[in-house]
Symmetry: C2
Subunit: 875 residues, 2 copies
C-alpha cells in the first residue's frame, strides 16, 4: 500500500505529533472532542522530508492525496475549491513537532482569485471585506510563498492612502481595496514577470512547497541549532477552512491561556479584538481587550470558550494556550497547545493541578521542564528596569543569571574592588585557572573569546556565576583597562549589566532581584525525590560550594577536583616549586608545604557534607598547566628557588606536550611522582580522621584515580593510596573506612571494565574526556570544525554538549555490564558535565547508574530530570 | 590438593615449558627418551611468581617439596646431599620459558663444605680437583647468590699466584687450592660478617631464591623489555646432579649444533675441550677443538653423541643446540634446545627437513621466525669488517639494515651529495616531512631525538632505509655542520656507518653487502602462501615503493598516503598557497595546480600495481603540518601570493591547535574544504581512466575516507566523491568501477561500525591512531610516561608497539562483528604499523580480517606471519 501523506483532521489525534506536527495533532484532537474547529487536513512531516530530499518537488502521489483530501473538505463545507460561484478558502500553516519561529508561518485566504473574489463579495454581501481579504492574500502569498519583498506592497498601500488623504485602513472602501488589488497584482507581475497565479490548486501546491522549503531556511536552521531540534523531524502543513473574525461586530479573534502563564494563577488570561483577524492582534495597531471583558461583550461566547478551555485543560491535564476566532457570533477554535510559562508558574500549575485531582504527583513531576528550574536559582533583572534597557551587545549565554557591577580587567583588581565592597563584573579576553578567585568574587564574567565549554563558561556554571562568553565584538585594550562595544567605551569602574540566560550585555545598571524559592518548589521537589531512583551528587571543590549544593538537595559530592585548590595565590608558588625542582627530596619538601592547605580544604568539605559521601579525585591536569606564563613570575620563582629564570624556563619547556589531553596527566602523574599521590592521600585521610575526632562524623572518603586505562596502573596507584592510608589509620587508632575507585574516561578503561572493576570499588564516568577521546575530537580545537559540520547539516549542534548515547553510550553500557559482572556491588556514577543535563540523566537512569554528579546549581535540575527518567522508565 | 611446585626430570616432558622453563622441560624430555642425563629436579615458574609476589620468601610448602625431591635424587645417585662421607653435589641453574641472558645463570658444585670437600678428595682420589671445585663454588656462590664482588676473589687468586711465582692455574697444587679456599672464605666473612654457609640445604635454598630474585634484576628487565617477555612468566630453577669434564683426559665438555647455524649445512657444528668444565670453554683461556676432531679423540663417544644429535633432531623436528660433558669416558647430555640460526640457515634447514621427510611443508612454515626475514631484505655488514670495527655510540635500532656513507646535515645537502654520486648518511636532530626526499636519497638516517615510532623511524621503515634514532649522546652543531660522539668529532663529508638492526654507530667505513634472496626463500614462501588465508598488501606512496612491494609479494596497496606527495619541492609551495589563501576560488585554483602532480603519481602507482587493488586515502594530516617554519620561507611565499609575511603568519597562527591529533584533520578537512576531496577524487579517477585507456588495465580504485566517527560525515564526503567520480566516468565513456570505504581509527567509528558499514564498502583499521585514542595516550608525548611505566613494571614495553589485543582488540572484534552484520561482504583490512607485526597479524587472522597492509619491506614477514597464524588457527 502507498504511504499515507495526507490526513483529514478527523483521521488524526493528539498522539500523532511526530507525523502531523504539534498544531495539526491538536486540531485533530479537538475535532475528536467535538469542539468547533474549522475543518481541514494535514500534509505530514514525512512528506516534508521526502520533498526536501528529492530535489524539492512535490511527488505526484502527494499531490493526488492532497486533491482527495480537498475533495472531502469541499463536501464538509459545501463549497468548492477554486469555484467561481461558491469558492472554498483555506489557510496554509506550517506546524512542526515543536513550535518553531523562523519558519514560514501562515498564508490566509488561499483560493481567492479575480473571479472568486467577486463570488465572495456577492455571497457575503460584504465586497469591502472580500477585496480586503484578496489584497491581504496577494501580499502574503507574494511575500511568504514567492519571496516578493513585503515592503513593496506596504509602500504602495501607504502611497495610495496618502493620495486619497486616508489615515487608517478603516477609511478604505470596497473600491479602494479593489484598486489596491490591481496595484498589488502589478507589483507581483513586475517582480516575477508572470501574472499572479489564478488557479487555486497551483496556489495551494506552491504554498505547501514553500512551507516545506522554509524548513531549510537559515533562520530555521539557527533556531533548530539553539533548541536541539533535529533536521530530520521536518514540518507538517495544515490546510484549514478559513473563518473570519473581521466580518463585523459579532466577529472577533483572540488568544488566551487557561491560567496565568507568569504566576500560574487559575484564571483565563489573554486578549481579544472585535472585528479583526489574528494578524491584527499581533500587529499591535489596535489595543486588544482583556479576555475577561469578553464576558461582557459576548457572554455566551465567553462561557462557551471558558468551558472549552476547562475541558481542554482537563483533557490535556495541563495549562492550555489557545487561539480562537468568532465569525458572525460563532466560536471557532484555531489552536490549542500546552502553554509556555515561567518557572514559578510551572510549579504553581503543577502543584494546583495535583490539588485539583487532575494530576497524580508523578504526572505533575513530568509537567515541568527541568532546565527551567535554572530561573529559580539565579538572580534575574527586574522586569520594568529590563524593559527600559537596550543591549549594547550579545554573545553566548554561558552561565545563567543576571548581574550588574563595575567592570574590572584583572583578577587582582576584581578582588581588591570586591574587598572594598563593590559589585564587580570581571571582563577578560579569556580566563585561565589563575582567574578563579577573581571570578569567585565577581557578580558576573564577560569574555571576548571562548565558547559554551570554555574555561570561563565551565567554571562560572560550577560557581553559579553569571557568564557571557565569546563576545568577539569587544575591542579590548588591556593595558589601558578599557573596552569598546556597541559604539560605547567602557573603562575600569564603569557599570555594566549582563544577562547570562540570554547573552545580552547592557552598558548601564539594571536592578537585579534575588530568586526566592517558595513553597511550591519544596512540595514539587519532594514529589520528584519520592520517585527518583538515581542519586544526585555535586561537583564541588570548596566548602561554600558543598554547602550550597546540600541546600539544593545534593546527596554527596561526586567530584572534588583537587587541582583547583592549587591555584590559590598562597599555594601556586609552592606547586610550581614542586613541579620545577630537580630531586625527589625537593619535591617531597614542596609537597609537605602544600599538605596543610589541602588537608584544611578537605576538613572544610567534610564538615560541610557531614556524613554524606565525598569522592575526591587525585591531581589530574598536566603539570605544565600550573606553570607561570609571564617572565616576571618566572623571575620571582627563580629567586625563590635559587635558580635562574632561564633554567626554569628550560625545564618548563621540557614539559611542553604536543597533545596534552592525551599526555602526562591523571594517574600517569601518580605513577611518575608517587609522592604526589602520597601527599594527597595523607591530606584526605588525616582530614577525615581529624573531623571524625573533632565532630564525630563518620566519614568514608572515596578516593578516585583519574585517567586509568589499564588494570596495572590502577593497581600501582591504589597500592600507594592503600599503604599510605592504612598506615595513617593504624597510627591514629581510629577506625576509618575509605574506598578506592576510578574515573572511566579513557575508552580502554570502559572496554576493559571487567578487569578494572577487579581493583576499583567504584566507577565514575568522566564523560567530558571520554566523549572527546571516543570522538577523537578535542573540544579546545573543535570551534571551526563544528561550525562547518553544523553549517553543512552533518551535526545538529555540538555533539559533545549532550551525552552521545549512540557512541559513548554504547561504551558506557558495555562498561556498566562488564563492571558489574566482575563486581556486582560496583558503585557507578557520572561526574562529567553531562551529569547535569536532563537527556543525559535519562540515559544514566536507563543504563542503571547509581548516581549523577553535577555543579551545585544544577542539582535541582538533576533531581527533577532523574525523577522524570524514573517515571518514563516505568512506562 | 596442594600445588605441585617441584618436578623430578622423570615427571616432566618437553611440552611443559611454561611451567618448567625451556631448559628443564628439555632435560625431562631427554630423560624420557632414555638419554644419558644427570638427573635432577625443577622448581617451577609458578614458585618463582609466588616467591616474588609474597615478600621474596620461599614458602614452607615449596621447601618441603624441594626436600622430598632431593631425597629422591639421593636414592638415584646413591649419595646424600650434605653428607660428610659421600656427598651429593648439584648445579643450580635458572631456566625461563625463553632463554634469558642477564639473569642469574649457574652455581656449580653446590653441596660442598669443609668436610664434604675432604670426602670428595678422598673418594675421587683427586684432592687437587676437589679443592679447585670447592674454591670455584665459594666464588660462584658468593658472587651470584650473595652478591660479593667477584673481582675480590680474582684479585686474591692473582696475588696468591704472583707470590708463588705461578703463571697458570695449572701450576696450582692441591695445597695451593686448599690455601686459596681459606683465603676465599675469609673474603666472604669480611664482606658478609658471617662464615661461608656450611649447610648444604641452606646453600640450596639460598641459590634457588637468588635465581628467583634475579628475575627481578635490572638486566633481566631490560632484556625482557627488548624481547617482549612478560614479567608474569617467571623463571624455573633446575637442580641437577653434578658431572665433571675436568676429571682428566677421558673427561671433557662441549657445545654443538646438529647443523651449521650460519649456513644450515647438514653437519655437526661445534667445539669441545678435553679435561675442562663448561665455564672454561666460555672463558676462552684454552682454544677448543672442532667437534669433528672428537671423532679422532674419542670415536665411541663421538658416535654416541652424533647419534643422540640425530635422534634429538628427529624428535624435535628441528636443528638442535646441545651441551654435553664427558666424565671419565661417560657422555652426559646437559642441555638441548632448538638452535638459533641466521635467516639463511633457517630457510635451508626448513627446506632440507621437508626434503628429508622430517617435516611437512606446514610444519616447516612454523619453524622460521617471521621477524628474522628482515635480515634477508636489507644490506648487512661484511662479518670480518664488522668484527674489526668498534662502535662510537649506540641508540635505537629504528629501521633494520646496515649503511655506510658521508654525513650530511640537511636534506638539501644530502640530495646534492647523492646527485654527485656519493653515498650519504643523513644526520638530523629529528626529521620532519620536509626531509622525506633527503631521507630517500640516503643510505641511512641518524637522529638525535625520537623513539622507535618517531617520524624518522616510521618513514625509514617504510622506505626500507636503515635508521638509528634517538642518539641523545650526540652533541649537534647544526650551524657548523658537525657533531661529536664517543669522543670523536665528525664534520660534513666524514664517513660513518650505521647498523639499524642493533643501533650501533661506527665512526668509520664498514663494507656492506647487499642481501641475496636465493632459492630456498622462494620455495619456503611458496609454502607459506599456499596455507595463508589473509591477504597481504602494502602501504606505498610512490611507484618505486609499489614495485618493490610487488616483488616482495604484495597483493595490492592497502594505503596510499596522499599527503606525502605534497612535500615535494615543486609542490609544497602550491600546497601552502592552497592553505593560506583567502577565498574558495583561490583555493580551487591552487588545487587545480596540484591536480596534475597528484594524477601523475596515481598513474605511476596504478601502472606499477597493474590490476592489483589500490586503496587511496584522502588527505589526512592537519593543514598546519604543511606550513613553513622558517621566516625565509614565509617571505618567499608572501612574495608569491602578493601578501605580507605578517599576514601569512597570522593566518598560520590561527591554524594552531592545542591537540592536533584530535583536531582539524582527516575527513574533517573534506567537510570544511570539499574542493580538496573533489581534486583528489578527480586525480584518482582521471588517472584510472587514463591507465585503462593507455594500458588496458582494469583498475577499480578504493577511495578511503580517514578519521570518520559518524555516519553523516561519511555520507557527506562519500557524496562529494561519488558526484565527482560518476560525472568523470560518465563523461569519459569508459566503464570504471570504484569503491568508497573508510578508516576505522576513531573509537566511535568502531563502536558504530554497524551504522558506518551502511555507507562504507570497506573498513581499514588505522590502528596507530585507534590505539592512541583508545589509550588516551599520544605517542608523541609518551616518552617520559613510558619510561616511568616500564621502570615501575606497569608496562612490559611500549603498549602501542603491538596491537593491544585486550583493549583495542575488543573494539576491533566488535567493529568486525557489527560491520559484517550490516554488510556481510564488507572488506576488512588493517593499515596501521601493526599490519607488519607477527603477533598482531595473528590477531587479525583470529578476528577474520580479509587482509593486512604493511610497509614494502615487511611484506614477506607479513606473508609468513599470516601463514603461521592460519596454521595455528587450525589447531
Amino acid at each position: 500500500m502507498a504511504e499515507k501523506y495526507v490526513y483529514m483532521f478527523s483521521e488524526g489525534n493528539g498522539s500523532m505529533k511526530n507525523l502531523l506536527g504539534g498544531k495539526g495533532a491538536n486540531l485533530c484532537e479537538m475535532t475528536g472532542l467535538g469542539m468547533p474547529v474549522p475543518q481541514g487536513f494535514i500534509v505530514t512531516t514525512e512528506a516534508c522530508t521526502l520533498y526536501n530530499s528529492s530535489g524539492k518537488v512535490l511527488s505526484g502521489d502527494i499531490k493526488g492525496q492532497i486533491d482527495a483530501a480537498m475533495a472531502k473538505l469541499e463536501v464538509i463545507n459545501g463549497k468548492r475549491f477554486g469555484d467561481d460561484a461558491n469558492p472554498l478558502l483555506v489557510s496554509v500553516r506550517s506546524g512542526a513537532r515543536a513550535s518553531m519561529p523562523g519558519m514560514m508561518d501562515t498564508v490566509l485566504n488561499l483560493g481567492l482569485n479575480d473571479t472568486a473574489v467577486e463570488a465572495v463579495a456577492k455571497n457575503s454581501g460584504n465586497p469591502r471585506w472580500a477585496y480586503d481579504s484578496y489584497r491581504r492574500f496577494i501580499m502574503m502569498f507574494s511575500d511568504v510563498v514567492i519571496g516578493v519583498e513585503k515592503h513593496k506592497f506596504e509602500r504602495q498601500l501607504s502611497k495610495y492612502k496618502e493620495e486619497k488623504g486616508y489615515k487608517f485602513d478603516l477609511d478604505m472602501t470596497a473600491d479602494d481595496w479593489k484598486a489596491v488589488v490591481a496595484l498589488f497584482k502589478q507589483i507581483y507581475k513586475d517582480d516575477q514577470g508572470t501574472d499572479f497565479p489564478q488557479t487555486a490548486k497551483d496556489q495551494l501546491f506552491e504554498a505547501i512547497s514553500a512551507v516545506f522549503r522554509s524548513w531549510d531556511n537559515p533562520r530555521a536552521f539557527v533556531y533548530r541549532r539553539m533548541n536541539d531540534i533535529p533536521y530530520e523531524w521536518g514540518t507538517a502543513v495544515n490546510v484549514q477552512t478559513m473563518v473570519y473574525g473581521n466580518m463585523g461586530d459579532t466577529s472577533g479573534t483572540g488568544v488566551a491561556f487557561s491560567r496565568n502563564p507568569a504566576t500560574g494563577e487559575d484564571a483565563l488570561y489573554g486578549e481579544y479584538l472585535i472585528n479583526a483577524q489574528g494578524e491584527d492582534v499581533v500587529a499591535g495597531v489596535r489595543t486588544p481587550s482583556k479576555i475577561a471583558d469578553l464576558g461582557k461583550d459576548m457572554p455566551a461566547i465567553y462561557d462557551q470558550f471558558a468551558a472549552i478551555a476547562k475541558t481542554l485543560e482537563k483533557h490535556y491535564k495541563d495549562m492550555q494556550d489557545m487561539e480562537f476566532t468568532i465569525e458572525n457570533g460563532t466560536l471557532y477554535m484555531l489552536q490549542t497547545r500546552n502553554g509556555k510559562r515561567t518557572a514559578q508558574a510551572a510549579l504553581k500549575v503543577a502543584v494546583d493541578l495535583v490539588a485539583e485531582g487532575l494530576l497524580t504527583e508523578e504526572e505533575a513531576v513530568l509537567k515541568v521542564d527541568p532546565k527551567q528550574l535554572d530561573q529559580l536559582l539565579h538572580p534575574v533583572f527586574e522586569t520594568k528596569a529590563l524593559k527600559a534597557a537596550k543591549p549594547i551587545g550579545k554573545a553566548l549565554p554561558a552561565s545563567p543569571g543576571a548581574a550588574c557591577g563595575k567592570v574590572y580587567f584583572t583578577s587582582e583588581d576584581a578582588k581588591a574592588a570586591a574587598a572594598r565592597g563593590e559589585k564587580v563584573i570581571l571582563v577578560r579576553l579569556e580566563t585561565s585557572p589563575e582567574d578563579i578567585e577573581g571570578m569567585f568574587v565577581s557578580q558576573g564574567i564577560l569574555t571576548v573569546k571562548g565558547g559554551m565549554t570554555s574555561h570561563a563558561a565551565v567554571v562560572a556554571r560550577g560557581m553559579g556565576r553569571c557568564c557571557v562568553s565569546g563576545c568577539e565584538a569587544i575591542k579590548m585594550n588591556e593595558e589601558d583597562k578599557s573596552f569598546t562595544l556597541g559604539g560605547g567605551a567602557y573603562r575600569e569602574g564603569d557599570v555594566i549589566s549582563l544577562d547570562g540566560s540570554t547573552g545580552n550585555i547592557y552598558g548601564e545598571a539594571i536592578t537585579t532581584i534575588e530568586p526566592e524559592i517558595e513553597g511550591n518548589f519544596a512540595v514539587f521537589m519532594g514529589w520528584a525525590d519520592k520517585v527518583r531512583r538515581l542519586g544526585v551528587r555535586t561537583n564541588a571543590d570548596t566548602p561554600q560550594d558543598a554547602r550550597r549544593a546540600v541546600e539544593f538537595g545534593a546527596e554527596g559530592i561526586g567530584l572534588v577536583r583537587t587541582e583547583h585548590m592549587f591555584f590559590d595565590e598562597d599555594r601556586i608558588p609552592k606547586m610550581r616549586v614542586m613541579i620545577l625542582c630537580d630531586t625527589e627530596a625537593e619535591r617531597i619538601a614542596a609537597l609537605n608545604d602544600l599538605l596543610p592547605y589541602q588537608k584544611r580544604d578537605f576538613i572544610g568539605i567534610y564538615e560541610a557534607m557531614k556524613e554524606l559521601p565525598v569522592t575526591i579525585r587525585l591531581l589530574d591536569p598536566p603539570l605544565h598547566e600550573f606553570l607561570p606564563k609571564e617572565d616576571e613570575d618566572f623571575e620571582k620563582l627563580a629567586a625563590m628557588m635559587g635558580k635562574t629564570s632561564a633554567e626554569l624556563k628550560t625545564k618548563a619547556q621540557s614539559l611542553h606536550e604536543l597533545n596534552p589531553m592525551m599526555g602526562h596527566r591523571g594517574c600517569r602523574l601518580a605513577v611518575s611522582y608517587p609522592e604526589i599521590a602520597v601527599m594527597q592521600t595523607r591530606a584526605i585521610i588525616e582530614a577525615a580522621l581529624s573531623v571524625k575526632k573533632d565532630k564525630g562524623y563518620d566519614i568514608a572518603p572515596e578516593i578516585m584515580i583519574p585517567l586509568v586505562g589499564d588494570i596495572k596502573e590502577l593497581r600501582f596507584v591504589k597500592e600507594i593510596i592503600k599503604s599510605t592510608a592504612d598506615k595513617l589509620i593504624a597510627e591514629s587508632g581510629v577506625a576509618l573506612q575509605y574506598h578506592v575507585g576510578t574515573m572511566i574516561e579513557i575508552p580502554r578503561a570502559a572496554l576493559l571494565a571487567d578487569k578494572i572493576a577487579q581493583e576499583a570499588e567504584f566507577f565514575s564516568f568522566g564523560t567530558n574526556d571520554l566523549t572527546q577521546m571516543t570522538y577523537g575530537l578535542s573540544r579546545d580545537d573543535a570551534g571551526r570544525i563544528l561550525d562547518d559540520y553544523i553549517g553543512r547539516n552533518i551535526y545538529e549542534g555540538d555533539p559533545t554538549a549532550k551525552l552521545d548515547q549512540d557512541g559513548v553510550g554504547r561504551l558506557m553500557k558495555w562498561a556498566v555490564d562488564k563492571g558489574r559482572s566482575a563486581r556486582p556491588n560496583l558503585k557507578l556514577g557520572i561526574c562529567g558535565e553531562h551529569g547535569g543535563d536532563p537527556s543525559s540523566i535519562e540515559f544514566c537512569e536507563k543504563i542503571g547508574l547509581n548516581y549523577v554528579s553535577c555543579s551545585p546549581f544544577r542539582v535541582p535540575i538533576a533531581r527533577l530530570a532523574a525523577a522524570q527518567a524514573a517515571i518514563n522508565g516505568k512506562k
